[in-house]
Amino acid sequence: MTHSVRVWAAAFAVAYAASLATVFTQSPPQHAAAASLRVCGDPDNLPYSNDRLQGFENRIASVVAKDLGVEASYTWWPHQRGLVKNTLEAGTCDVIFGIPHDLETILPTKPYYTSTYVIAQRKGSGHAITSLDAPELKTLRIGVYANTPVEESLGRRGLVDHLTAYSLFFDPTGDRDRPAKLLDDLVAGTVDVALPWGPLAGYYAKKLNAPIEMSALPSEEGVPLTFSISMGVKKGNRDLKNRLEAAIDHRQAEIQSILDDFGVPLVAAKQAAVGAVQVPPEAPAPAPGAKAGTQADASSDAKKNPFTDKEDGIAAGKKLYIQVGCQGCHGGGGGGGMAASLIDDNWKFGSDDETLFKLIKGQIPEQTMPTVYSSLPDEQVWQILAFIRTLYIGDPAKKNW
């Protein structure tokens, strides 16, 4: 298998992971009313989707449809090979939820969440593995899904002999419980460590109360383990793409809360569109159930604003400060109003560059500032901060930027 095909397969596997299919019967294509959001849904693929609308993608689809002022209607087709051809291209439905952002056969919206492969262990197993480099792995049984990128990571470490591979896809001739079996086996102790796609493990841990704890697996050189997930529409259907993206923006909080409800471990999107500015890569946020401190050390290098005291950056930041609305709450001159003053030395979460960067990006859990700027390019966030620094009239000795 060539590298590019392998990556594609991995990405594909991510999106269509874990069809917990028992018996699949194809429903006839439903002719949705014109005023509905026509979703190409998987009839039996929890935690993502099923025909009883119990999956988190079903719930997200409802929220998005609501934002568009319509109801979601479904054409059922398993999310396996042939999906795009038989649904979007055949015109039986208009949007697929939960596809990898870089899948080439569709037009993706911007991602609405980013998750990661995880290391999952049985609670109380005493292994406490947090990295694939842990020497104990050489003595343990590791369960993975076949053809997922973690196989590559293990192969590089000479751990192939310790693998048990499970099938991700519905196999009408084989063991129909197989996709669920990896996590069942983990709980039963048949394998010691599992490396599944995070939303699946999160679902087991949170929704099914399985005694599983997990921590995020960071991507490695050449082996992406975090994936941004989008909705996909037929190529050329820009109108729907734009409307879906607006809905993603509007409903960010509701989508987040659905993902939280299902225990989906979320990580920051990859720093793909940074522009000219290089910033250190984001460390993944700890996955739900991860041990405290597991990921905290990953980003010990505090971020610094490359635009501080740089005239061009400040000028650009001043313009942005008004354009994106900062001025509305923080005042034309930074003196506050609805929101805190930016000119004195009273900072709720700290005054350093990294804290304020995270605050604007909506990454501080306790923040009350609206978390609506997560997609603002990093460069622009730094420029705004560079401008804000010029407004400071507090004690110069307290400057830590």
């Binding site: 607006a246 923006d249 509007h250 960010q252 909080a253 509701e254 008004i322 354009q323 994106v324 609305g325 900062c326 001025q327 509305g328 709450c329 923080h330 005042g331 034309g332 001159g333 930074g334 003196g335 506050g336 109003g337 609805m338 929101a339 003053s341 000119i343 004195d344 009350t368 500032m369 609206p370 978390t371 609506v372 700027y373 407004l391 009239i393």
Partner: protein
């Protein structure tokens, strides 16, 4: 025989009223021993026939009870008194207390604090205020800052139901009291600074089910226009105006919030309220009338359908947020009994309309320095603007009066049937205003203007005035150093009450404006005085202190003084006037009686 017929007739009328209106509330609001709805009555006159306290003895008024609400942001609105219980509310986090007035010291019967999403705090434009609760049929109905509508058992404070009306993650909040009409609780939304599309909605008293929702702009089906909408005044605009008077799809973020006071005429079965400023404050990107922002609406409360709508400030360029209250007055106009609606708008004009169909009767400047328009053309209904004062993007237009805070802000006026005058606290504030470009991002501020606010000619920032609605002329005025942001109360004792931001609660002779009495409050007041009879049959007067609101936000939010543009211009205005030298934060209910 005659007597029998009479009894039947009375019975029939009674039955008819019971099905056509909430009998409980109609009875309660006529009983001046109580103060059972926010504006005293559906006509919103804030007038009581109680007259133990008169212009002669008011100087003997003393504070007899006080109560800390436990919150320190601006305290707008008023408590309710139903039977022998007083219902007290606070600024965010919106504590509600039931106070038992039958026992010594008036102890707390129950306390309720809603569980709220604190992210709402960051998207409330003008301090974390609340305008009070409503009562009906043994329940208390309230809104929360974070968008919930809640019904409580009035005896126990236990939640009966709660539903969501507004979503703070989209910049939607609630500070209004709303109004109960028949079997519905009618509420609106704040968030004109966040590019929301405003609405009002009716919720079933019984279970909180949403019964209708009418937007301020958008397709007619969303705005809910009746087939005969504006039939009497087609020049106000009739159909398709909610989209066609906006460039492109700007109406989708058109603002028109509905956070003010509502009134109701049971005979006409019409609900009155008005819509706020269009979003953004930068007029250059939304050329057109921007209907139905800045509009007084009359709607059928059963269906939500609008009978008429009159837009006061087309293509707003000043944030003349039109949400102020409406007083429903039956006046003698040119020798003819007329059902009128009086409205003192932010834009400096006092409007008098025929409330049956919206026809303009008069529109005169109550804020004397108003200069953005010369007058209102009564034929067309449109303002005749002063082009030099129309704002636009990228230019700071100077010395516009009134300022964005209005010739008068939300503090509701009072009408005394005894003097036939309207009493109102008003502003003397002017501004410089510059539109700036802003992108719409859902949930992010969408203000788009820099505003500097300062005292108008004369130097005093406020005034308490008496106004004759028939002649459309001021009768007298009392100049105040700060804007007067308390509501007014009038009584059959011919006393008018109001409070000030520097913490004075005052009584004046309603006929002459002669000052009669004042009492110092621990914090400035922006609340509405009420009066009622206690279980001891004594007349009481009550008012909250607690500085805040848009003007007082720099004090309530402890903002630094250096940026005059901060708090949408309030920092310059409040510190410019020295408000920080005369008052500090608070949150107390004060009750007064004759000594």
């Amino acid at each position: 025989m005659k007597r029998t017929f009479g009894a039947i007739a009375v019975l029939a009328v009674g039955l008819f009223t019971a099905v056509s209106a909430n009998q409980d509330l109609l009875t309660l609001q006529k009983d001046d021993n109580q103060w059972a709805i926010p504006a005293k009555n559906y006509s919103a006159t804030r007038y009581s026939t109680l007259k133990q306290i008169t212009a002669v003895n008011v100087s003997k008024l003393r504070q007899v009870w006080s109560f800390s609400t436990g919150a320190l942001r601006g305290h707008e609105g008023q408590p309710l008194v139903v039977g022998t219980t007083m219902y007290v509310h606070s600024a965010y986090p919106n504590h509600i207390y039931a106070i038992d007035m039958t026992k010594e010291g008036w102890p707390i019967k129950w306390k309720y604090t809603p569980v709220q999403n604190d992210r709402a705090v960051a998207v409330a434009c003008c301090d974390l205020v609340h305008k009070g609760v409503n009562y009906a049929q043994g329940k208390i109905y309230m809104t929360t800052l974070d968008g919930q509508v809640i019904a409580l058992d009035a005896n126990t404070g236990k939640e009966v139901w709660k539903v969501r009306n507004a979503d703070p993650t989209r910049g939607e909040t609630q500070t209004m009291a709303g109004l109960i009409v028949k079997d519905k609780y009618i509420v609106g939304v704040s968030g004109g600074e966040f590019g929301i599309r405003g609405w009002i909605a009716a919720y079933a008293l019984a279970d909180g089910k949403q019964l209708w929702k009418a937007y301020s702009m958008g397709p007619d089906s969303d705005v809910k226009l009746a087939p005969d909408f504006n039939e009497a005044n087609p020049h106000y605009g009739r159909f398709d105006q909610g989209t066609k008077t906006w460039p492109g799809e700007r109406w989708k973020n058109g603002g028109g919030s509905t956070w003010g006071w509502y009134a109701y005429d049971p005979d006409l079965n019409l609900l009155y309220y008005s819509t706020g400023n269009p979003g953004t404050w930068n007029p250059s990107v939304r050329q057109g009338d921007d209907k139905w922002s800045m509009t007084i609406f009359a709607r059928n409360p059963d269906t939500g359908m609008a009978k008429w709508g009159y837009q006061m400030t087309p293509w707003d360029a000043w944030d003349y947020d039109g949400i102020n209250e409406h007083l429903l007055l039956d006046l003698n106009i040119a020798g003819k009994p007329t059902k009128t609606l009086a409205h003192f708008d932010r834009n400096g004009f006092a409007y008098l309309l025929d409330r049956t169909n919206g026809t303009l009767i008069s529109a005169e400047k109550f804020a004397p320095n108003t200069n953005w328009a010369d007058h209102i053309d009564l034929k067309t209904g449109r303002p005749v603007e002063n082009p030099a004062k129309r704002t636009k993007q990228g230019v700071e237009i100077k010395d516009i009066c009134p300022a964005a805070m209005g010739g008068k802000n939300q503090q509701p006026a009072s009408f005394s049937p005894s003097t036939q005058l309207i009493y109102a606290g008003i502003n003397n504030l002017c501004m410089n205003y510059e539109g700036v470009e802003v992108q719409y991002i859902a949930g992010a501020p969408y203000v788009g203007a820099n505003v500097r606010i300062f005292a108008g000619p004369g130097g005093n920032q406020g005034e308490f005035i008496a106004w004759n609605p028939v002649t459309a002329k001021r009768v007298w005025g009392i100049k105040e150093p700060f804007p007067v942001w308390t509501g007014a109360l009038t009584t059959a004792g011919d006393v008018a009450f109001y409070g000030t931001m520097d913490g004075w609660f005052k009584a004046v002779n309603a006929k002459t404006g002669m000052p009669l009495w004042k009492s110092k409050l621990p914090s400035g007041s922006i609340a509405n005085p009420i009066t009622f009879l206690g279980p001891d049959r004594k007349q009481y007067i009550a008012i909250y202190s607690g500085i805040g609101g848009w003007f007082g936000l720099p004090i309530a939010g402890n903002l630094s003084r250096e940026d005059p543009l901060a708090a949408l211009g309030a920092v310059g205005a409040a510190y410019g006037s020295g408000l920080d030298k005369v008052t500090s934060v608070g949150g107390t209910l004060h009750v007064y009686a004759l000594e």
